[in-house]
């Protein structure tokens, strides 16, 4: 299971000649230039920065908008509430790819191509259904007495949301944020279409382009892969619980 990953790690320390003559053994000598040249390169760091920025902005926007909507859908009784909720849950079944053509045209019309918002906004929009479903379930489990007490103490509905509900829902917010970040970090189709200029290339787009550019220098591509995997795996190690909790929750809810 880990063999491909280890193979990539070790291969990154070889030269491409070594890779074909000495496929299985440890590198001899250890070549560090593949890694160091990447770590010293602007485009690599730029793509990491771009991915990070887009992922964080997507998560903030998705979770912010979803939390507000989930609050309304969970704790207010109003006409059409279930219809509205159904509209959002139907979004769970819309494959991203179905909307990608008109989305592209829409973004072009608004001048959002080669603009990070062109990726952030659609990602957030498509992340809403799952996030709303998870958060709504969570918000419903917070006792109504708490809200009554807060209202009696003069708390407005937004005040209750901001000062009581959100702090209580911190674990759930963590989970959905992690899901949004991972989803954004791994997204490929949208950034591929939106960013024609290298300025904003995210990590997946960067790798694909790198592979095309250095097709014959296999060892270097391995090094690139390893460096690109590192942030994702590190994030996974840190946020493992939220992530797995979120996926199992998200899957059974969606």
């Amino acid at each position: 299971m880990v063999t491909p990953l280890l193979y990539a790690l070790v291969s990154g320390f070889k030269s491409t000649d070594q890779l074909s003559s000495n496929t299985f053994g440890l590198p001899h000598p250890w070549v560090t230039s593949n890694y160091t040249s990447l770590l010293g390169s602007g485009p690599f760091w730029r793509s990491v920065g771009s991915s990070t920025l887009i992922a964080v902005a997507t998560a903030l926007l998705t979770v912010g908008a979803s939390a507000l909507a989930a609050y309304a859908l969970a704790r207010f009784a109003f006409r059409g509430r279930e219809v509205l909720f159904t509209v959002f849950t139907m979004g769970l079944m819309f494959p991203f790819a179905v909307a990608i053509l008109p989305l592209f045209i829409l973004l072009r019309t608004f001048g959002l191509l080669d603009n990070p918002w062109g990726v952030i906004l659609p990602q957030a929009a498509f992340g809403l259904p799952m996030t709303i479903v998870i958060l709504r379930g969570f918000f419903r489990e917070i006792p109504g007495e708490l809200e009554e007490a807060a209202t009696l103490d003069g708390c407005s509905s937004f005040g209750f949301f901001w000062r009581i509900l959100l702090p209580l829902a911190r674990p759930a917010l963590g989970t959905v944020s992690v899901l949004a970040i991972v989803g954004s970090w791994n997204n490929f189709l949208l950034p591929l279409l939106v960013f024609s200029e290298p300025t904003w290339w995210t990590v997946p787009v960067g790798i694909q382009q790198f592979q095309g550019q250095y097709a014959s220098d296999v060892a270097r591509i391995f090094a690139y892969l390893v460096l690109a995997m590192a942030p994702a795996l590190a994030f996974y190690a840190v946020a493992e619980r939220q992530l797995i909790g979120g996926i199992t929750l998200g899957a059974t809810k969606g």
Binding site: M1, A77, L103
Partner: protein, 338 residues
């Protein structure tokens, strides 16, 4: 706006569709009806809170979906506005397009592979890891790690491992004296799909395994204990205790597997771009090719509408006939809309 009968009474409390909570959403007033002022205020607050999500969702999900539907009736290159209306021509073309029909067939194959091989394998690993095993947490993390990696990373990695001649796969076969078995892998018309499936299994089985593990944790140990006392062997316990209780999880995992196969793109695009000669093409790849490479936006939109309809029909049928028993869950709540 219409709404289902259960909510139309405008009572103080809208009953939950799920089974879990009985929490009243709003503090109930003294009488059966809340004061008008309170209702208006609630409605307004709810409106304000929902606006950001609704605006995003409407503009960037619903509108594009609707537009895709509209464009699918035109012969359109993607520039200016569509004017050359062709009625259902794009759709009739779908049924004659060997590439699209091939996409459907390959989709069916991938689903079949997943159900027959990938999911049972995931289940076996989950049952194994659910026992008290040394280093269980480590295994769990390792098996799940591929799922975290982006499909692009996975794709690039395996396209090098399965590179004909110099790749790891061929070298391994060569080293154990099976040179003849090494081959074209992703470059061969008959080998590309099986090899792709191998990579998909590597990437996704950990996800299903995680789902099953979560499901297994929900099965009370007493049940296994009781079965053991009644003399049930381990296979019998698996067959008659674990499997039925895990059924809801299995049904979800099958659902996600099918939807995932319909939407497969990144991995294939990076590895083979649908080639050689369309032998690994999926619906999304066809859509992408027609839309962004050949500028047949109308036809590409027809493909995406078809893809949407296939997912929708599958999802509705699946939830109607299979998931109905598992009342909890978002897709299930869509019965409110029926």
């Amino acid at each position: 706006m219409t709404h289902s009968t259960s909510t139309s009474t405008a009572s103080t409390y809208v009953p939950d569709l799920g089974k879990s909570t009985g929490v009243t959403a709003v503090s109930p007033g003294p009488g059966p009806r809340r004061p008008v002022l309170r209702r208006v205020r609630d409605w307004f607050a709810a409106f304000v809170f929902t606006i950001p999500a609704l605006a995003l969702f409407g503009m960037l999900v619903l509108l594009p979906m609707g537009y895709a539907f509209y464009v699918s009736f035109f012969n359109w290159g993607g520039f200016g506005s569509p004017t050359d209306s062709v009625g259902f021509d794009n759709y009739t073309r779908l049924f004659q397009d060997p590439v699209f029909l091939g996409d459907l067939w390959r989709g069916v194959l991938l689903v079949a592979f997943s159900l027959v091989l990938q999911l049972p394998f995931a289940l076996a690993m989950a049952v194994l890891l659910n026992q008290r095993l040394r280093g269980r947490a480590v295994y769990r993390m390792l098996f799940f790690a591929p799922y975290i990696l982006s499909e692009v990373i996975t794709g690039v990695l395996f396209s090098m491992i399965f590179a004909p001649g110099g790749g790891l796969a061929d070298k391994v076969l060569g080293a154990v004296g099976l040179d003849g078995l090494g081959g074209l892998w992703f470059a061969g018309q008959n080998t590309v799909l099986p090899t792709l499936f191998l990579v998909m299994t590597w990437k996704y089985f950990g996800f299903h395994m995680m789902l099953y593990l979560a499901g297994l944790q929900g099965i009370p140990a007493e049940l296994h204990e009781a079965a053991r006392i009644d003399g049930a062997g381990s296979w019998q316990r698996f067959r008659h205790v674990t499997l039925p209780l895990l059924a809801p999880t299995l049904r979800i995992s099958v659902f996600l597997s099918v939807i995932g196969a319909i939407q497969l793109f990144d991995l294939v695009w990076v590895i083979s771009a649908g080639g050689p000669d369309h032998h690994s093409e999926t619906m999304v790849i066809s859509m992408f090719q027609y839309g962004f490479k050949r500028y047949q936006m109308g036809y590409a939109s027809a493909i995406s509408v078809a893809m949407f309809l296939i997912s929708l029909v599958f999802a509705l049928a699946y939830q109607r006939f299979v998931l109905r028993r598992d009342t909890e869950g978002a897709i299930t709540t869509m019965r409110a809309g029926r």
